[in-house]
């Protein structure tokens, strides 16, 4: 690895007084997100399991007993992981609003930090599914130009918080453009 001329950027950023990402406090999602997420995944897995069982039952005469295990065991393992995962990953999932940008960090094993500046945001959306509604949660989605799916989707916010962030980001996006 060759030396990277770091001093060069450092100076520039210092004169511009750019806040460093690491120093600012991050905010966690609502604790209810854990349960809501586990339930959403459990519903999908329940549907999958019922489907698999029905399929296996229909062809029960043609298959050996271990086929049941070979199909259902992996589903159970993934299901268990999907239920445990939100509880483990919760503390590792956070967002941070700064004056000019928003950063969303996710992932327990594979970490992902996405940063979007407000002045590139084209469109904002707050949505609420039935399960989220039950847990009084909402999602905020941020879109930039040139993409169809959202660049960032924060899914475990209080509806008021989501609306507040949306209004603030929309205002900042308008001002900075």
């Amino acid at each position: 690895m060759e030396q990277i001329p770091t001093s060069y950027i450092n100076n520039v950023l210092a004169t511009q007084q750019l806040p460093e990402l690491e120093l600012v406090e991050v905010e966690n999602l609502e604790p209810a997100w854990k349960k809501a997420n586990a339930i959403v995944w459990s519903i999908s897995f329940a549907v999958l399991t019922i489907g698999a069982v029905v399929m296996l039952w229909l062809i029960r005469d043609k298959i050996l007993w271990w086929t049941w295990i070979a199909v259902l065991a992996p589903i159970s393992i993934f299901w268990a992981w999907a239920v445990i995962y939100p509880y483990l990953a919760y503390k590792k999932r956070n967002y941070m609003l700064r004056e000019h940008d928003i950063t969303y960090t996710t992932g327990l094993i594979w970490r992902n930090e996405v940063t979007i500046t407000y002045n590139r945001i084209q469109h904002l959306e707050v949505s609420q599914g039935p399960i989220q509604k039950f847990f009084k949660l909402a999602s905020l989605q941020l879109f930039t130009a040139g993409g169809q799916k959202s660049d960032m989707g924060i899914s475990g916010l209080k509806p008021e918080t989501a609306q507040k962030i949306k209004a603030w980001v929309a205002k900042k996006a308008e001002l900075e453009q």
Binding site: M1, E2, Q3, I4, P5, T6, I9, N10, V12, L13, Q16, L18, E20, L21, E22, H100, D101, G107, I109, W110, R111, N112, E113, V114, T115, I116, T117, N119, R120, T144, A145, G146, G147, Q148, D151, M152, E176
Partner: protein
């Protein structure tokens, strides 16, 4: 007829639409334009193509079925007549329903056979007004217009056939609107002063026919050969299903002897297949490239660039300087020997949003000379290409081992089990070659990767045998992503991806500190650089 369709709304939705139009434009319904009447031909063709592409195995099956029933000539003529009549009726309704007009700020399009839709496209949203002229268009003096809004394909507006002067008129109106906008925003006009000063369009590159042929000949044919093989197999499977396995049996009967000789001489079989698919691929690539890029010309215009290309269908694509999101160019040793480069200006077009749509607007020019590339970069990025051999090598050697583990060692071990179990020991060479190829590929990828950056731009050089270059301006970036696996975190590495609205650049396995600094630099530029980014 025209008034009727306005006064008799088909449903409430269109009633609302008409009211909206009335609001915008008072009573002046005569401002609505129609396409040229010849457009019915193109509409029929489009409809026919649409039906045929999605249902062709079924159609072929029906045809064969009818043939076996030995219908007489009147029946066949009658059937063809009815089909044509249906196609014609639909196209006629479509033609009559399709109307458009524009005012100072918007383009309005009304269309739809069963439900009427009104599209309102603000000029501000229009990325470019592009045209395409097939042979038939040219004979009739017409042109097909595509208004690119950088949205999804559903938002894109296509007008099948209007006169050339009409298309120029629309293009001019949109351009003048932009000029006015630029004057309103003092910053923009300041930055585009130099561009506005250019009165005459200047040709900066012309691709010779021989260059296109050489470029096409030296393309990476291995990749295309794979794609063609997959395509042929899929089609064969479809036909096979439609005819209930008859083609497979037929093929087996016809090629029985041939296949027998294949079984006895495997090397002969492999060589034959390889040579055959290579020849087909090379022919296919050369013909396609030639048709699409015959007489390609790149013009420098007052607003940006214009590309005109194609043999049978001439396409004209516009791109404003400020709309260039990324510049990319590439070559390989053989192409470089002839001084040829593939060159792409990425823009936030519908094409990028819908990569499957190959007929869309790609600002790609094959067989460019380096001088043309330098010229364009000097104008768009306002600087010369840096000396990349002196740039940093940011990718860690960890990259080689990890990539080889994931794509080489693990597949090798997976293949090894069954091969040893079934005692296919003479096949062991294949996974071994694969493993070595992966190791070779990743080693050279890591070694050749170069990254150069300054306050405003970033440059990446990469490639194993050939070379790819990418240049971006930091302030065009939309989204910066830092990601890391547990192993990367232990080694203090991360993968940085910067997305523009055109394309993205990835720096794999770079030191985390460095990645963070690059991210901060990009964010700082996005926030402080006031130049227009789209």
């Amino acid at each position: 007829m025209l008034e009727d369709s306005i006064n008799e709304p088909l449903n409430t939705e269109s009633a609302v639409d008409d009211a909206t139009i009335a609001n915008f434009h008072g009573e002046s319904t005569e401002n609505w334009h129609r396409m040229s009447a010849w457009s019915i031909i193109f509409l029929i063709w489009k409809l026919f193509k649409g039906i045929f592409i999605s249902n062709w195995p079924t159609l072929v099956a029906i045809f064969v079925f009818l043939q076996s029933k030995s219908f007489s000539l009147p029946w066949i003529v009658g059937g063809a007549g009815v089909t044509t009549l249906i196609l014609f009726t639909f196209s006629l309704i479509n033609y009559l329903r399709f109307r458009f007009f524009w005012d100072e700020e918007h383009l309005f399009i009304q269309s739809g056979i069963f439900t009427r839709k009104l599209k309102k496209v603000p000029f501000e949203r229009i990325q470019s007004v592009n045209t395409s002229q097939s042979l038939v268009h040219r004979l009739l003096g017409l042109v097909s217009v595509t208004v690119d809004t950088a949205g999804s394909a559903a938002q894109e507006v296509q007008i099948s056939a209007v006169s050339v002067s009409f298309a120029d008129n629309l293009s001019q109106t949109v351009y003048e609107f932009r000029q006015q906008m630029a004057e309103k925003k003092p910053l923009d006009s300041l930055l585009h002063k130099e561009e506005l000063a250019i009165e005459q369009d200047e040709r900066i590159a012309k691709v010779d026919t021989s260059d296109v042929l050489i470029y096409a000949l030296f393309e990476n044919h291995l990749k295309t050969a794979g794609l063609i093989l997959a395509f042929v197999l899929t089609i064969f499977q479809q036909v096979n299903q439609a005819f209930e396995d008859a083609p497979a049996e037929f093929l087996e009967q016809q090629t029985g002897n041939f296949v027998e000789s294949f079984k006895t001489d495997l090397v002969f079989a492999l060589v034959t297949i390889a040579v055959l698919s290579m020849v087909i691929t090379i022919l296919f690539t050369v013909i396609r490239m030639f048709l699409q890029n015959y007489n390609t010309e790149l013009y420098k215009t007052s607003k940006g660039y214009r590309k005109v290309s194609g043999l049978l269908t001439r396409k004209k694509v516009e791109l404003g300087v400020s709309k260039v999101q990324m510049i990319a160019w590439k070559t390989n040793p053989l192409k470089k020997f002839f001084g040829l480069y593939g060159f792409k200006l990425s823009n936030a077009s519908t094409q990028v949003v819908n990569p499957g749509n190959l007929t869309g607007n790609i600002f790609f020019i094959p067989a460019m000379r380096l001088s043309g590339i330098k010229h364009t970069i000097a104008r768009v990025l306002e600087r010369a290409i840096p000396e990349m051999s002196e740039a940093t090598k940011p990718v860690s050697t960890v990259y080689i081992f990890r990539q080889t583990l994931y794509f080489g060692v693990i597949p090798f071990l997976i293949a090894l089990g069954p091969l040893l179990y079934f005692e296919h020991t003479n096949w062991l060479l294949a996974p071994l070659i694969w493993l070595c190829t992966v190791l070779f590929y990743n080693t050279f990828y890591q070694r050749n990767f170069r990254f150069h950056f300054d306050h405003e731009t970033a440059w990446v050089e990469s490639g194993v045998i050939g070379r790819d270059w990418v240049a971006i301006e930091w302030f065009k970036v939309h989204n910066v992503t830092l990601s890391s696996s547990p192993h990367q975190r232990r080694k203090n590495l991360c993968t940085l991806t910067v997305h523009t609205s055109g394309d993205k650049v990835t720096l794999p396995y770079i030191p985390t500190d460095f990645g963070r600094k690059i991210r901060d630099l990009a964010i700082w530029q996005i926030n402080t650089n006031q130049r227009p980014w789209m």
